[in-house]
């Protein structure tokens, strides 16, 4: 017999969350024995690189978008931001290659693959808005060239790559939020479903 407490939104949500992601799946202390390859580190390396990208972005935000042109410390922080992005894409693509050849979508893990691939596309968009926010020759060139591709789709009427303020806000607010939410969903799915088992091989 369900009580008043049972029927509360809070109670129902909490039970749903714990059922979907129980603590021992959220923070496991074991993993299947077949997880025995260095290819498995590239997911957590990608995630770590994303953390560094965001932290260095925070530091750049503290002093504003012109700081890195004017200060050698600012320029170094910009370099940290650039190289953490390079590592992020480097690791993410290797992670994608590994997961493809493991057919990691098997066993109802399709959404894990989907969220990963959408995060990849979102990351490219995030990087692009970063490139056009640099307020230097590179951003001038990239924006004036990219406008043709984006205009041709019709999106250029609303997404104006020559509008530096708009591009900067997409880069530091809208797209990072999307990337973080997608990454969180992706990681939660991996935790819930576990790492995909190997293909079955007929033993000789």
């Amino acid at each position: 017999m369900s009580t008043t407490i049972d029927r509360q939104w809070t109670t129902r949500l909490r039970r749903r969350l714990v059922e979907q992601l129980p603590p021992d799946k959220a923070l496991p202390d074991t993993q299947p024995s077949y997880v025995s390859s260095w290819i498995y580190v590239f997911g957590v390396v990608t995630l770590s690189a994303l953390v560094i990208v965001i932290l260095t972005g925070f530091v750049l935000a503290i002093r504003g978008p012109q700081w890195w042109h004017q200060s050698s410390i600012g320029h170094y922080v910009n370099s940290l931001h650039l190289w953490s992005v390079e590592i992020f894409f480097f690791a993410m693509v290797i992670h994608l290659w590994g997961k493809f050849f493991m057919a990691a979508w098997r066993g109802n893990r399709s959404l894990t693959w989907v969220t990963g691939a959408v995060t990849f596309a979102t990351s490219i968009a995030t990087a692009f808005t970063g490139y056009v926010s640099q307020t230097n020759f590179d951003s001038q060139w990239i924006s004036t060239q990219a406008k043709d591709g984006i205009n041709a789709t019709g999106a250029g009427a609303y997404f104006n790559v020559l509008n530096t303020g708009q591009m900067l806000m997409w880069h530091i607010v809208l797209l990072p939020v999307a990337a973080v939410v997608l990454t969180a969903l992706h990681v939660v799915m991996v935790r819930r479903k576990g790492v995909v088992p190997p293909f079955e091989e007929v033993s000789k």
């Binding site: 390859s37 260095w38 580190v41 590994g98």
Partner: protein, 57 residues
């Protein structure tokens, strides 16, 4: 301080490019792509700790 924080390797000069017919790629990009492929292959074949010793079942 600015010297220490500045780049040790100066990449602020015109780049070099690999050309092959209509294909062109900068040395920098080529180095990144080659490093990615090598890293992927090494990650696949490098031994991973945690394997049972030979005399264990």
């Amino acid at each position: 301080m600015s010297e220490i924080l500045g780049a040790l390797v100066n990449l602020d000069h015109p780049g070099h490019y690999i050309s092959w017919g209509w294909f062109q790629m900068s040395y920098g990009n080529f180095a990144v792509v080659v490093t990615m492929v090598v890293t992927f292959l090494v990650a696949l074949v490098a031994p991973f700790p945690g394997r049972k010793k030979e005399n264990q079942s």
